[in-house]
Point group: C2
Chain length 190, copies 2
């Protein structure tokens, strides 16, 4: 897929109940490992949660689409993600490692979209409970989860001017609209 | 450019002294605005520093390639970046906004590479001094700089196993080598 097409990627919160091949996940992790990172230190590690029993337990601790609840609240066995990729840092990560995680997640999202997969970057989950489920050692900190699966929705972006509200919303046909500031709204030239 | 080619992108620290067109910078900012961000809040703003007088002052506060100093220390007017994009957050940003910045910078780096540009994500600079140069208001915090220009070097990635040193290095032909952990070195499957 070309870069201009990759930019069409949007977050997906409804998924087909179809298994994600290991090869597709490996391509995502390949993108993560090659992402920019401070000093090339590569402090991040990835746990791929794909056994259904464990994925279900993790899923139970996650939440989705806060602005359109319950319009994009997936249900296990119906439209839930198939896989979670946990992004794990050394304990008490600073700004650089947190930004590294953002770069790695964004890269994985592009790699997913390039293969016809959808993803949802999750920050809203019970970190303490998921940390226990994953049996992370005390010197490791769970930063984010990336939910992955084949998409069962196609959200659309729309341009908004500076100061306009950014809340995404569902239209009458249950299509998710994602307002995005224009370049001019967020940029100053010096 | 296809995704598989975009993944060949590496950080560039030596630049041709050729002007970067506004159109190319706008494409980078378009990628930033469309990057994943927590709750779609879009808190980040971008200052594009391209007037040579200001770019030079900012350049004087930045440093590059700490592991190979002075092998990748650019000099103004010789091989320095042409443009800086400052990534600015609300004051005291939390984990989500810092990770948003990582996602946006990574997206801008892909957009740069897609257009034949090189970039270097900078965390090592005097934030207080650059904040003054940019006359940022007190409710804004400078997170990162992205140095941009046409590349005058072609670094190469090489695979390393778990536990191997991650320091990049220059070979006898002055080519920068960037060791990257394999997928297996950084991934656990659950």
């Amino acid at each position: 897929m070309k870069w201009s097409e990759l930019l069409q990627r949007r977050t997906v919160r409804r998924f087909d109940q179809k298994e994600v091949p290991e090869k597709a996940l490996r391509r995502m992790l390949n993108a993560a490992r090659l992402a920019s990172c401070g000093g090339n230190f590569q402090h991040l590690r990835y746990l791929v949660i794909r056994r259904p029993e464990l994925a279900r337990l993790v899923f139970n601790e996650t939440s989705y689409g806060g602005h359109v609840r319950p319009g994009r609240t997936p249900h296990w066995g119906v439209d839930a993600p198939q896989v979670f990729i946990a992004v794990v840092a050394p304990a008490n990560p600073g700004t650089t490692i947190i930004a590294d995680a953002g770069a790695a997640v964004q890269s994985m999202e592009f790699a997913a979209f390039d293969q016809g997969l959808g993803s949802c970057w999750l920050g809203a989950f019970d970190r303490a409970r998921v940390t226990r489920l994953l049996q992370l050692p005390v010197d490791r900190e769970l930063l984010f989860l990336l939910a992955v699966g084949y998409p069962a929705e196609s959200p659309v972006a729309e341009d908004i001017p500076a100061g306009a509200p950014t809340k995404y919303y569902l239209d009458g046909s249950d299509v998710l609209h994602v307002p995005k500031y224009t370049v001019d709204a967020i940029t100053e030239w010096r």
